[in-house]
């Protein structure tokens, strides 16, 4: 009997853990938010939307941040930069039109991460409505509008850089969501971009109640600015003018006075969130931008091309008081060709590394005006275009040497003049390459010469011929699909020039 009792106790001891092991094996991390606990309150929706913006300042996974990506994509292949000894081989390859699919500058990872954050908000925020009674339909619509607008902006950058890209509009939250996706044509992507923007425009906020949010987050005006840019790219000039007019007629924006060059620089670039600004990325002392290492350390990667001072702005050697306020002390520091726009605390004093948080301006009022000028010129309203350029030049105290007197009917001349003025106005703001490409490809590459002339000036003499030959192929104007993407996404095909 004794033995039997012990045996019974033994069996119980043996079986007890088996019964309770279902619970025993269910371990949850103690230091993180799990998906099961998320998407329950309006605060969580808000935090996820903020996360989209935060992902533009830096990457949680170590990808290149959006601001630096836009700078590289927008300037590297254009004519305003020059390399230094510390410029990486990959950067030099892009400058020299020697781009291989292994070049990590063609890596779009960070952009698609942001797109996934947008997709996640668009997919899961509506579900919160049922769980949190204090979450209103209006608040939901605003959140989704912000996500859609950012997603549209990201795709707009992608198609301008790669021509055709996969269009991923669903959130990845589980391993069942992983897909291989083929490229969509530029038209399909842009149609989706406009669809998103038009939907977002309906619900977007006009005023968040504080200036920083009005400039740092998506507003109606920001959406209109992106629309104008997309229409201009698509050569839909009437729609472009209409979108620009929405911003102009809102009377909420204006040009910062250029009477005091230093004050103008500080208001627009150092302090940021000026009256001229429409949408800018809000770097701060917690999230420094990466420009300090690009432009200002011993290991700086880029300097301003000498032509920026010599040809773009020019210098009036007869009267030192006459100068373009956008030139020395704003875009560049003329003494050592330093790219100054993000490095200065004033016209003369430099930022320290810990102060390297100049905002990255995506759109500002001057941009809207010049986009309108470009569109009006194409619509045959050359005089209006010239008036706008004149307005911008007066504000900037542009030098006579860069002034052109053109007839209102000189469509080609005015287009070039606007392009040149954009170079002066938006130097190093990540717009130059897209501006040149947009003008070159207009009317079925009527102005390919713009690109060929540009490349002849930037590439070292021994590579000139091959670079020009390459640029004659319009497929070369887009970056290759990064090798990584080709190996991981079997549905992708390399872009034509790089096969």
């Amino acid at each position: 009997m004794f033995t039997r009792t012990i045996f019974k106790v033994l069996m119980v001891v043996l079986l007890l853990p088996v019964v309770s092991c279902k619970k025993w094996l269910d371990l949850q991390p103690q230091d993180g938010l799990t998906g099961a606990e998320y998407w329950k309150t309006k605060e969580q929706v808000q935090a996820a939307v903020t996360g989209i913006y935060a992902s533009l300042l830096g990457s949680a996974t170590g990808s290149r941040n959006a601001a630096e990506t836009f700078f590289l994509w927008g300037e590297l292949r254009a004519d305003m930069l020059t390399s230094t000894l510390a410029t990486t081989n990959e950067q030099i390859d892009v400058i020299n039109v020697n781009i291989l699919p292994t070049n990590s500058i063609a890596n779009w990872k960070g952009i698609y991460e942001t797109i996934n954050y947008c997709n996640t908000v668009i997919a899961f925020a509506p579900g919160v409505l049922a769980k949190d009674a204090t979450f209103t339909q209006t608040a939901l619509d605003r959140a989704v509008a912000e996500a859609k607008a950012i997603r549209a902006l990201m795709y707009f950058y992608l198609v301008r850089t790669f021509d055709q890209v996969p269009l991923k509009l669903t959130a990845t939250s589980s391993d069942k969501d992983i897909i291989s996706l083929a490229k969509s044509s530029q038209d399909t992507v842009l149609a989706q971009v406009l669809k998103d923007l038009n939907e977002a425009e309906v619900y977007a906020v006009t005023d968040y109640g504080d200036r920083a949010s009005n400039k740092g987050r998506i507003t109606k005006a920001a959406i209109n600015a992106i629309q104008a840019d997309v229409y201009l790219w698509q050569e839909k000039y009437t729609e472009c003018v209409a979108a620009c007019n929405k911003i102009i007629n809102s009377n909420s924006f204006g040009l910062i006075s250029g009477n005091d060059a230093n004050l103008w620089y500080q208001t627009l670039y150092v302090n940021g969130n000026s009256n001229e600004s429409i949408f800018e990325l809000q770097f701060d002392n917690q999230a420094l931008n990466t420009f300090y290492t690009l432009f200002n350390t011993n290991q700086k990667k880029f300097l301003a091309n000498p032509i920026v001072m010599d040809e773009v702005y020019t210098v009036d050697f007869t009267d030192p008081l006459k100068y373009d306020i956008r030139a020395d002390g704003a875009a560049v520091r003329a003494t050592d060709q330093l790219i100054w726009k993000y490095m200065g605390l004033s016209n003369t004093t430099s930022r320290a590394q810990v102060e390297s948080y100049a905002h990255w301006i995506m759109y500002r009022y001057a941009d809207v005006l010049l986009m309108k000028a470009e569109a009006q010129n194409q619509l045959g309203n050359g005089q209006e275009a010239l008036d706008i350029v004149s307005l911008i030049r007066t504000r900037a105290r542009a030098l006579i040497a860069t002034q052109q007197n053109l007839a209102a009917t000189d469509k080609v001349g005015i287009a070039d003049y606007v392009l040149k003025e954009r170079a002066r106005e938006f130097a190093f703001e990540g717009k130059r390459w897209f501006d040149i490409l947009r003008n070159a490809r207009r009317n079925n590459y009527q102005r390919l010469d713009l690109l060929l002339d540009m490349i002849a000036g930037t590439v070292p003499p021994n590579r000139q011929q091959s670079a020009i030959a390459k640029f004659k192929d319009k497929n070369c104007h887009y970056l290759p699909i990064y090798t990584y993407e080709l190996t991981t996404n079997k549905a992708l095909v390399q872009n034509p020039f790089y096969k």
């Binding site: 004794f2 009792t5 012990i6 106790v9 033994l10 119980v12 007890l16 853990p17 088996v18 092991c21 094996l25 269910d26 371990l27 949850q28 991390p29 103690q30 993180g32 938010l33 799990t34 998906g35 099961a36 969580q44 996820a48 903020t50 996360g51 989209i52 913006y53 935060a54 992902s55 300042l57 830096g58 949680a60 996974t61 081989n89 020697n98 890596n107 698609y112 991460e113 996934n116 954050y117 991923k168 959130a171 990845t172 939250s173 589980s174 391993d175 069942k176 992983i178 920083a212 740092g216 987050r217 701060d284 999230a287 011993n298 290991q299 990584y484 993407e485 190996t487 991981t488 996404n489």
Partner: protein, 1092 residues
Amino acid sequence: MKVLITKISFLLFVVLLAGMARAQVTTITLQGKILGPNKNPVEHVTIAEVDADGRTVHAVKTDVEGNFVIKISSTKNKLSISHISFRTQVLAINNRTTYNVTMESNSKDMGDVVVVSQRKSDNGNVSIPERELTTAQSHIAAKDLEEMQAASIDQALQGRLPGVDITANSGDPGAGMQIRIRGTSSINSSNDPLIVVDGMPYETAIPSDFNFGSADDQGYASLINIAPTDIKDITILKDAAATAVWGSRAANGVVVITTKRGAVGKPAFTYTNKTSITKQPEAIPMLTGDQYSTLIPEAYMNSTGTPLNTQNVKEFQYDPNDPYWYNNYSKNTNWIKAITQLGVTQDHNISMTGGGEKARYYASLGYLDQKGTTIGTYLKRISTRINLDYIVSERIRFKSDLSYSYTDNNRNFALNLRDLAYRKMPNMSIYEYDEYGNLSGNYFSPATNIQGQYLGVSTSGTVSGTSNPVALAKEAKYNIISQRVTPHFNLQYEILKKVLMATFDVQFDINNNKNNSFLPQTATGRPWTETSVNRAYDGDIDVFNVQSKTNLVYTPTFKSPNHSLISFISLSTYDNKYVSQEILTSNTASSVLQDPSSPSRTINSDARLVATTGQTRSVGLLFNAQYGYKDRYIFNAGVRGDGNSRFGPQNRYALFPSASVRWRLSDEKFMKRFQKNIDDLSLRASYGESGNAPRRDYSYINTYNTFTWTYLGQAGVYPASMQLSDLKWETIVGQNVGVNLSMFKRRFTADAEFYVNRTKNMFFPGLQIASINGFSNVDMNVGTMDNQGFELGLGVTPYKTKKWQVDFNFNIARNINIIREISDLYPLDKGDITANGQYKTFLQVNNPFGSFYGFKYKGVYKDLASTIATDASGKNIIGPTGQTIYMKFNYPSIGYTFQPGDAMYEDINHDGNINYQDIVYLGNSNPKFTGGFGTSVTYKGVWKFSTFFNYRYKVDLVNGTKIYTTNMYGFDNQSTATLRRWRQDGDVTDIPRALYRTGYNWLGSDRYVEDGSFLRFRTATVRYTMPKKMVQKLKVKNLSAYVTVENLFTWTNYTGQDPEASVRGSDPFRVAIDNSYTPPVKTYTIGVTASF
């Protein structure tokens, strides 16, 4: 629960009643006298009343006269008379009351009795006689390895066992070993075998999400905590049927280690000492400062067409009028020599073992002090172990084992220190001269020079960019202090004598690691504003691990001796918890303040304050039975259920069956006529499944994280990982066929195994996925892989007389990896053939992997004429306008025209363009055969001479060292082979011209592919054991001394440093690249063992 409490109370009640019942029995008094063999009375003899189970009821001791009186409770009990020096006697009581007993000496036991018992093999759960094993196992007694100077046992096992591949991650003290049993079963998941010490799993992995700051997990040697001298034997379970009993963590094989235990006898002390000297052999000859400073300007000139301006680049100016630059940059420094020292190792171990009838003990204390061959590396270890056995009765016994170890391991801050030293400019001075040309006594670490600057330290502990290697070795530190306490308790209870036994095991494992590193400013030379200056790091990991195991073993005895059955149920639980924290600060006030607790900068981009915590749990329930019929047919079958917390609820549990069989041919009737010669001939076959769990905790859960920065003052949240609803057990299905042959009274033994291990639902942590998904990697089950091969082990005693014995053993193995099925997301090729130094690899389903492709190297274009492109018939190719066409590289996307002095690659398709169409098969990096052999010669049992060799046959290695020491591509120092470089038109040589950062002179080609077959004279030992007669005179039990030499010589055609390059990781695209700069160290050891 209520039922349980009731039952326990009831049980206690019964026990109490029984005790009371016993108390009522009337007592009887016995008395007597105990005499020794020489008829003298013996004092302190234990007289005990023992019951039927052998449990002591009451005991007394004899006095000075040898007399005793004992009151006993039952006449049915027995009287046990025991003394440590004499043989124990058990006498019946019945009606006898007087006992005058003469004791017999114990020493008879120790006479020359030939023991005919058979070896038993222990799989950690039950021990099964080796004759009856149905599974593939290898066994080695630690005695065979004792002469080697190895800090941990894995080091000594290298090459000893077929199919067990052990490679060192580095030669530095405390570096971990990589153990692979039958190849790698998983791509990129954990491939380490389970270590079982005395029946309980022993944790060797460290939390995978702990960032080591300057070490990787492979560099972590957990086995270092077990002193090799404490180990009695090691069994390696190889096939899946054998490992199945250990379940989910045993998918990569099991190493079962048994430690020494006490035995009945007088206390015996054993002292062992090993002293050795290790020497770094001469490595690759590198350029001197003078040769280097002619190479660099030439490379620069060749590449840019303009001379190097030494006005700006003063490193090559050599102007005595500028004393600062002249003195600091005109030396011929041998950086390697400057960081190398002679290694010395001292290993002392003292152990005591003994015990009586009831209690036995083994206690040991060891001290190891190892100084590495690189300055700044050492390992100090104190290890203790106490193994206690207490036998309560014949039915109940318990064991309590306690081990504690303390290791203090210093390694180089930069794991690539030697590499840095090889690359360092040789014309630089180690110590800095001031501007007057006087030696300042400081390390010469310029903030930047032409070689660049300090670029930081990677997560794997390698330093990139420049820094002063001598300062790094001497001033920077990386110290790991670990303390580990492992108490293990075991209780055995025989419920039914010899039929049903229950065992309970519980083991706690408290493992604390403290990592402390410091990078002084003097090593990097960076300005004080930067965070790389005086970086102090401190990281703690505390692991607490509780495991339990409850076994119920049923071994019925059958009436007919033809049947035998061993069966058991085992329930095991595992709970592992860890807490870690890390602090990294910078800019402490001085290089003396090396701890982050000293005032330092904490807010900067580098600083880190991280704490993590994690927990894993698993349970396993196993049924296993082995049935034998007539000792001829043996069947074993089992099934194991596993549950693991690392899976989501839908995939958490899995069942893994196993079955194996052995047929002893030699006992069959038709084999009778061979019986004289054949001791044993058996065939074995087995099938088994076992599962593998992912490496990381909670990885299946979809998590959200907060960005470390805010946007407009608000915290932003992002999805950090996706939910892994498809993640399931990786299952390894093993099939094994084996033959055991033993002949001529075991003078010839052979074991052969053939196996196929199929890994299904293979894990791939961090499988790269298209970043359009918003994530770039995911843990996934990606496909099916096979590991197949064979192993053969032979043991021969060709000559055996009373005086001489010659033994010879040999093992050989072959393993190939084949992918059978792979996820669509898995990439099928890797390597960019247009980039220097890369090879192309393809993954082809159903083909063994490890093959790599590249160009064929044909030497150097000697002049312009030789760069003219020719077609297949050797005629010059003419362009459309009649112009001469020169050889081009990868036209049109690169379109580089080859110049005289450039590397010449074979234009396979004769189109004048070297591109991907010109790549060919170059080799395969899986060895055809691996193994080892050894002999030992014993003379009169006094002298023993033994040797051991290991080898690898037919393996293609990429000589990575050759690539980087002859590419002349940057400012890194080069080997003296570059003195043969092409310098002017007409030079015919095999080394292309120097080209600074341009050109395609070191593309992946057969120039660097070599046959890595080798035969290595691993060890040679001469041992002298003092004969018994002499020993007795010295009043010691045993005395022996030996001399061992390791890594004496390597026969190979390989021109690199070490053909035994380990292929790190298990990526199917891996190419065996040997990046080692130094061959393995030579070790000379003198050892003494004495027992008292």
